[in-house]
Amino acid sequence: MYKYILRRLLQMIPVLLGSTFIIFAMVFALPGDPTAGMCGERPCAPAFVAKFKQEHNLNDPLPTRYAKYMGNLAQGDLGTTFRDIKVADELKQRYPTTAKLAGMAIIFETLIGVIAGVMAGIRKGKFMDNLVLVSTLFVIAIPIFVIGATLQYYLGVKWGLRPVTVSPQATVNELLLPAFVLGSTSVAYVARLTRTNLVENLRADYLRTAIAKGLTRRRAIGLHALRNSLIPVVTFIGADFGGLLGGAIVTERIFNIQGVGGYLFTGIHNRDGVSVVGTVTVLVLVFLLVNLLVDLLYGVLDPRISHD
């Protein structure tokens, strides 16, 4: 078990190196002058530009710059932006907000998705099943920014039921709607996955045994069948975490949330390479750790999986 975890952690190193290098190369290949707009209306003086480029290693070839950057990163330094702000400080402020948003979205997708999936699965072919199938198809087909903007307009602007935007404090109440929007696509997938797996498990031999043991239908389905049906669902939610972070960029834009997604968006917009690379590096790391966690959880949920 510990060997497995250690091996997985070691495997992260090449993945982390590879993905950060690609991002690094892409970000610095972006056209545009990072000193643009730094000196008011005029272009900056050549001396300033030269000094700026020197300070930020912009004259070095890409591999050297990457190596220098990773050297700093290894010491816990995520870099300083062109505007002299430490990326680590910025992220420290913004991470809790995005974590809260993502966490709430996961709770949403799990709760609503599983309940809808179970209601559809135990009434296979009936009204409830069709309702869930159609409405999930609907949600999957609509892009997340359309769902977000529409709900924001109606619930927020028009009817005033929900706050339109989220304050820097990002309270749970303010995040309810954004989290719902962020989790909406995954809710649909979780519901469908739960339904399919439940229907399959309801036909399983062990469920026939459960009924023959004299268990109530509620216990046989709610404990025996559901416990088995949820194994792939948990895996999906973990694998979907990356998609959720991508969705967070859009959602944070729509609701003006001061989170990592919004920061990343601004960074790309401003050609602020250091902040982009720093943010993405942390995102990749979080993603890898979540995946490890999910794989470990998978082993706990399904005893047939061995991590030895």
């Binding site: 062990y206 045994t209 459960a210 009924i211 004299g214 268990l215 216990r219 416990r227 088995n228 399904d302």
Partner: protein
């Protein structure tokens, strides 16, 4: 079983309802019919099955694949999927009470404490994600309201009773960590946990090696004698049950076509179908002879032939066989056969 033992078992049940067999009669299946309503039509899987089961009796049900053995067992257990299954006719009485008309909740409480079942494939029949001890203990927790540790203690005792080595250490292991034979022992432990009066074993050894088959049969027989259960043993292999069963019922197309004591039937079949079955078993005393398989296929259950269902495959068939369905009648002491020419088959 003596009266005092019967009383003891009854008082141990906490389901509220008590069931008392009259003169040892546990189960009466009467004119049972089961149909499957499928998009292709109605498959008549069971077409009037009758039998009784007494305390301490072992009844073997023998028949080809598709003859309705499992459906009969599932109807008794009440675990048929309805729909597609429909029971248009018949009664299944346990200690005099019809299970088919009993309220669902009352019937549920009979599963486990009164009637219990062991399935063919123990690997798929056990839940893969719960420890075996937990699955056995669940019987005590659900039906007896026992707490977790007491129930687990009972589970260990049962695992020891079915001869699982190092039961105490393995109570937390999962089904896939056991061999096929050990898994079937766990199924058996679970089935006998609440000391049921009736145990149904549906091909309990089919998935196992020959040597393990014998061990499992021996265990079932031992438990049956120890607890004086009524045991229904379903098989398509007469060799497996010959030493264990008292009576054998042979099924064809959802009916019992012959019923007799094991040795009588083995020595002298009273129905052409049984005769065919026996001739298709290799025998030590007829080494080298060609095996005579029964020609033709089992009938399509959506179009069972008129008259005797076996007539298209029967060597003895006459015109009457295509018109009249023969009833299951006593043709010799302790021997029933559903054939117009039973006497000839028996003595010819």
């Amino acid at each position: 079983m003596t009266t005092s033992e019967t009383m003891a078992r009854e008082s141990a049940k906490s389901s509220g309802q008590t069931y008392k067999p009259q003169d040892g009669l546990l189960l009466e299946v009467e004119d049972l019919h089961v149909e499957f309503h499928t998009p292709d039509g109605i498959a008549r899987a069971i077409n009037g099955v009758n039998f009784d089961l007494f305390e301490g009796q072992t009844l073997a049900i023998l028949g080809e694949s598709g003859s309705g053995k499992s459906v009969t067992a599932q109807a008794i257990m009440g675990i048929l999927d309805m729909p597609p299954a429909v029971i248009p006719k018949g009664q299944i009485r346990y200690c005099g009470q019809d299970l088919l008309t009993m309220p669902d909740e009352q019937r549920r409480r009979t599963r486990g404490p009164e009637i219990s079942m062991v399935f063919q494939d123990a690997l798929s029949s056990l839940n893969p994600v719960f420890p075996v001890g937990w699955q056995i203990a669940e019987m005590f927790r659900v039906h007896r309201g026992m707490n977790k540790s007491d129930a687990l203690e009972r589970a260990v005792k049962l695992m020891q009773r079915v001869q699982i080595p190092a039961a105490k250490e393995r109570v937390g292991a999962y089904p896939h960590q056991f061999s096929g034979g050990m898994r079937q022992r766990i199924m058996i432990a679970m089935a006998i946990a609440l000391d049921p009066a009736v145990l149904i074993a549906d091909e309990p050894t089919t998935a196992l090696d020959v040597t393990v088959q014998a061990q499992i049969m021996a265990l079932l027989q031992e438990l049956q004698e120890e607890r004086q259960m009524g045991l229904i043993l379903i098989t398509h292999d007469l060799g497996v049950v010959a030493n264990v069963a008292d009576k054998i019922a042979v099924m064809y197309a959802g009916r019992i076509v012959e019923r007799a004591d094991v040795y009588d039937l083995y020595r002298q079949p009273g129905h052409p179908y049984t005769k065919g079955l026996l001739e298709s078993i290799p025998r030590l005393d007829q080494k080298g002879q060609q095996l005579a398989a029964i020609g033709g296929l089992p009938p399509n259950l959506m179009r069972i032939p008129e008259g005797c269902a076996f007539n298209p495959r029967c060597k003895f068939a006459q015109d009457v066989c295509r018109e009249d369905r023969p009833a299951l009648l006593e043709v010799a002491p302790g021997r029933e056969s559903a054939c117009h020419f039973a006497e000839e088959v028996l003595h010819g």
